[in-house]
């Protein structure tokens, strides 16, 4: 039997009451804020998970935003590309009509006028801006129009007409993140989408016996190529072919020059970063300060043009009345241009589909993360209210008992 001093029941009560008060306060705070954790110490490992899930959810939101933005731009671009397809198909019809040889020069002249207005329309399509004010087909240079349209007088046309169209935009190197670590190209470049022919560059110098003397680095269509001192011309050819750009290099059997040819119709861009090997091999000009595509060597031969070149050639041939040319080279060129345009359209469609798939996966992931986080971070209200009632009940009982036993002492009964 343990001896009980007078203060003991009271001290005991007080201890238990303060414990219970603390617990009631915690539960009440949780109910008021609907948070499961009052402070980190309540569930440290859960807190760590919640932190990660929170950041992860925000990342997923950002990726969804990114995808929406690019999808919007691409669907606008698709619309313009479809219009370009219509224009090129009409041009093709006209060229087949003009190739029959049954029209007079005057009639061909009228067809030329139609071709000219179609060209004007095409020039507006390629310089289209997206909904946010950025040019759609300019590659990375989205604040300047991609195609430079020069007007002038053409013999046979009464008003001012387009004389030359050149590409003034940039390559599309920008990428956008759609999942942790995965990126996708965002910008379309006019010198691939609206290109007609395979481009061919014939170098100016005979490269037999050429050896690289210093470390060289140049960028071919956005891909980096490194040349070491001691590389001969065959190594250079191999490195260009292995660079991953859609360009094939070869040595000309007759002149010995270094020739480049595209495997997929687009405009080749070559820019030196270190060293002068490209100038020495007769590919690039040695006057500094020029940027592609105007930096080819003065004596290098550059062939292959854009859709505009085809269209302008058609118009000029019609004006001349040269229907053999119209039915030959020009129809072939327009065919190739149309193919290229359709191929790019299909490519864009495939990329959009990939974005759609990623977007729907991200949507589900977002929901799953939110659920998981909620299960850790949010309070189970039923549980909390039940616990609160229980605590209140025990508190009342404890108070009643404390009231009863703390009152009488022997003193009350002594005379």
């Amino acid at each position: 039997m343990q001896r009980i001093s007078t203060n003991m029941p009271m001290l005991d009560s007080r201890f238990r009451m303060s414990e219970r008060d603390f617990r009631m306060n915690q539960v009440q705070r949780g109910i008021a804020s609907s948070r499961a954790l009052g402070s980190l110490r309540d569930a440290p490992v859960d807190a760590a998970h919640i932190i990660r899930l929170d950041s992860s959810g925000k990342r997923v939101d950002q990726y969804l935003d990114n995808i929406n933005y690019v999808r919007g731009r691409w669907s606008q671009a698709e619309g313009y590309m479809n219009e370009a397809v219509t224009i090129v198909q009409r041009l093709r019809e006209l060229s087949i009509q003009g190739a029959t040889g049954t029209y007079t020069k005057e009639n061909l002249g009228f067809m030329a006028i139609e071709v000219d207005s179609l060209m004007s329309e095409l020039s507006m399509v390629v310089n289209a801006k997206g909904g946010d004010g950025q040019y759609l087909f300019a590659g990375d240079d989205t604040s300047t129009p991609p195609f430079l349209i020069e007007n002038g007088r053409i013999p046979g046309m009464s008003r001012s007409a387009i004389t030359n169209v050149s590409y003034a935009g940039d390559l599309g190197r920008s990428r956008m993140e759609i999942t942790d670590g995965q990126t996708i190209e965002t910008n379309l470049r006019g010198n691939e989408v609206f290109w007609g022919d395979q481009q061919q560059i014939f170098g100016a110098n005979d490269t037999e016996g050429f050896t690289v003397t210093e470390a060289n680095r140049f960028i071919l269509d956005g891909k980096e190529v490194n040349l070491e001192p001691g590389d001969n011309i065959h190594n250079v050819v191999r490195k260009i072919n292995d660079a991953g750009a859609a360009v094939k290099a070869s040595l000309d059997p007759v002149t010995g020059s270094l020739n480049l040819e595209t495997t997929v119709p687009h405009q080749i861009w070559m820019e030196p970063a270190e060293g002068t090997a490209l100038v020495d091999m007769g590919l690039l000009t040695d006057t500094g300060g020029t940027k592609p595509p105007a930096n080819w060597h003065a004596d290098a031969v550059v062939t292959g043009g854009s859709l505009f070149d085809q269209g302008l050639a058609l118009r000029d041939a019609l004006l001349e009345g040269n229907h053999e040319r119209v039915g030959g080279v020009i129809v072939g060129g327009l065919d190739k241009g149309l193919d290229s345009l359709l191929r790019n359209l299909a490519d864009l469609g495939a990329k959009t589909e990939r974005l759609d798939i990623t977007s729907s996966r991200l949507g589900e992931e977002k929901g799953a993360i939110a659920d998981w986080k909620s299960s850790l971070a949010d309070l189970d209200l039923t549980e909390a209210i039940t616990e609160m009632s229980m605590l209140e009940y025990t508190q009342k009982a404890a108070y009643q008992v404390a009231g009863k036993i703390l009152q009488p002492t022997l003193m009350d009964f002594l005379r």
Partner: protein, 625 residues
């Protein structure tokens, strides 16, 4: 024949004794709720009876009892129980202090719901993502700038608050040492009084109680043991050393320590030796200040430094549309103004160390390629040199991971261009400075020719920080280094003012060829945005998300342990206190019962005196004429 008045004497003695007993009961009743009071009891003893076996005794049947006297007044106390309570006191003090302060540190984190530094960092990364989608946008640049400022603000504030807590802890240390000294003085005073009182044969019970209360309070601050065997000298020991020996007191003192930023060490006043505190409130305060909170500050510094360094590295290489490049996003302040990082550490006027934070090699490495030769890398860790061996079949990634998981206090990674980068981290203890690379050596060719970092292999070509111009040991031809930052980067990190003045200089593009890139090139912004989930730090937390999550879990676990241990220690103390109350506490009912007993005893004694008085009256007044 006994003396005439012996009856009255017996009565008188009884009255005295019972009155004394009643006084003591009254004392107990009055002091029932005084802290540390032990109930007192009178020990009544029969007075020596007549007659002792001696020659001058009267020949009457003996021995005749002579009444009652009070032998002593004792306090009822269980000494063994008291020793147990004393032993538990420092544990209770330790955990209570720890619980209290850790709660404050926890609240600084503001996780996982409120606007914490992590949320601001998330917004910062989002700003860069937005910029990577709209690289020409000026609004996005403003957003990146403002969010960067908000993030830095958040980091600065967190540093400030942690520093506040550390200063509070230091103030508490100084004040507690003062309180301990005060208690020691009081105990010494009480010792003197008690010795005087005991010399006269008394039991100074109330002085004992006061002294015991003070000792209990003292045990809260540091672990003490009491030795009372020698009545002349009352001994209190802590950790085997004397605190009090009778009248002699060894006081404590708080001395500022310049190596610990001027915070105070607890030393013995006499010989300035460090007090060995691992338990008790003092031990808890010192541990919190120098280990827990300092660790939090260091970890925040490391994260801020890595973050700023990485963002700056990319931003310096990147271009903006109006042609500006080479700008830092976050302004860094170097530790020394010297370009080679030379510093005079000993203060003797001669440069004697090199303070470099980051070393970068020349060659581009591919993480999946096997190294092709074997060797051992030697770095410096907390407890001395750390050797990291590698074999010919290990890939570059494996060697980098091995460096990161060793004790070497630095991080290795391959940067954007695939070059090997070594970055110094935080250090354990006060001897070595933070963010300084101390020793890099390789017996094979990995760091030398393969990664292009060191000039050669072996100890002769090693990089060591304890010589000036140590950066000359790096491989010529492009091995780069950066000077260590001023201490506590999280306190002074700022966004570059040039960018605040002209946000269009915020770079988002990369240039392959040195030509100003187009406005729509976003590769720079994308690189920065992708830093968010790259593994860039050493130790358990690899990415920034990992760091925040681990930091919160760490402090949460510490807090959980502190709270639970504090609670259970509270219960232990409460049970011991209950036992003590059970032995020494006053029970009012008991005292009233005793009071009745003594009251009756007193009445009986008074009655007896009256009876003797009447008998004497008969003899004196009625015998004779």
């Amino acid at each position: 024949m006994s003396s005439t008045f012996s009856g009255i004497e017996i009565g008188k003695r009884s009255l005295n004794a019972h009155q004394l007993a009643l006084t003591t009961v009254g004392h107990n009743l009055s002091n029932a709720s005084v802290e540390g009071y032990s109930r007192q009891r009178v020990n009544m003893r029969s007075t020596d009876p007549l007659y002792m076996p001696q020659l001058n005794r009267e020949e009457v049947p003996g021995q005749i009892g002579q009444g009652v006297g009070v032998a002593s007044i004792e306090r009822i106390r269980d000494e063994l129980l008291e020793k147990r309570i004393l032993a538990q006191g420092d544990v209770a003090g330790y955990w209570r202090t720890r619980d209290n302060y850790l709660l404050q540190v926890e609240q600084i984190h503001q996780e996982p719901y409120d606007t914490s530094v992590r949320v601001m960092m998330d917004k910062f990364w989002e700003g860069w993502q937005e910029l990577s989608v709209h690289p020409e946008g000026q609004a996005e640049r403003q957003a990146v700038l403002r969010r960067g400022e908000a993030l830095i603000d958040g980091i600065n504030r967190r540093y400030d608050r942690l520093k506040e807590v550390r200063t509070m802890l230091n103030d508490d240390v100084v004040v507690s040492v003062g309180e301990v000294n005060g208690m020691l003085s009081e105990i010494k005073g009480l010792n003197e009084q008690i010795v005087k009182s005991e010399a006269l044969g008394d039991n100074p019970n109330d002085l004992y109680d006061r002294r015991d209360l003070l000792i209990n309070k003292l045990s809260d601050y540091l672990p003490v043991t009491v030795d009372n065997r020698d009545p002349d000298e009352f001994l209190i020991h802590t950790g085997g050393l004397h605190l009090i020996q009778g009248k002699q007191v060894s006081f404590l003192a708080a001395e500022p320590n310049p190596q610990n930023e001027g915070y105070h060490d607890i030393v013995w006043k006499d010989n300035a030796e460090l007090l060995n505190t691992e338990s008790g409130k003092l031990g808890s305060l010192v541990e919190l200040r120098d280990s827990d909170v300092r660790g939090e500050i260091q970890s925040l510094d490391e994260m801020s430094m890595a973050f700023a360094d990485l963002v700056n590295n990319v931003h310096r290489d990147a271009w903006s549309a109006n042609g500006s490049t080479g700008l830092d996003f976050f302004r860094e302040y170097p530790f020394v103004d010297n370009l080679s990082g030379n510093y005079d550490r000993s203060g003797d006027g001669e440069l004697d160390s090199t303070y470099a934070y980051r070393l970068t090699g020349i060659n581009t490495l591919d993480p999946a390629t096997p190294v092709g030769f074997a060797g051992t890398i030697t770095l410096d860790g907390a407890k001395g040199p750390v050797n990291i061996p590698y074999t010919a079949v290990d890939t570059v990634e494996m060697v980098v991971d091995r460096i990161n998981s060793s004790d070497a206090e630095l991080t290795a990674r391959l940067d954007r261009n695939g070059r090997l980068e070594l970055r110094a981290g935080i250090t354990d203890g006060f001897d070595n400075p933070d963010f300084v690379i101390r020793h890099v050596e390789d017996s094979g060719q990995f760091l030398a020719g393969y990664a292009g970092l060191l000039g050669g292999n072996g100890p002769g070509a090693a990089y060591d920080w304890q010589i000036p111009d140590a950066v000359l040991a790096l491989r010529p031809g492009g091995a780069a280094y950066s000077v260590s930052p001023l201490s506590h980067p999280s306190g002074w990190l700022q966004v570059n003012e040039d960018l605040i003045a002209d946000p269009s200089k915020i770079a988002s593009a990369l240039s392959d060829t040195g030509r100003v890139p187009s406005g729509g090139d976003n590769r720079g912004a994308l690189d920065i945005a992708q830093l968010r989930h790259k593994a860039v730090m050493a130790g358990g937390s690899k990415t920034f998300d990992d760091w925040f999550s681990l930091a919160a879990a760490d402090i949460g676990l510490k807090g959980e342990i502190a709270a639970q241990t504090n609670e259970s220690q509270d219960l232990v103390m409460k049970e011991l206190e209950d036992l003590r109350q059970s032995v020494s506490g006053v029970n009012l009912d008991e005292e009233f019962a005793e009071m009745i007993k003594f009251q009756h005893g007193y009445n009986a004694a008074a009655r007896f005196v009256t009876t003797i008085d009447k008998m004497l009256d008969t003899i004196i007044n009625r015998l004779g004429v």
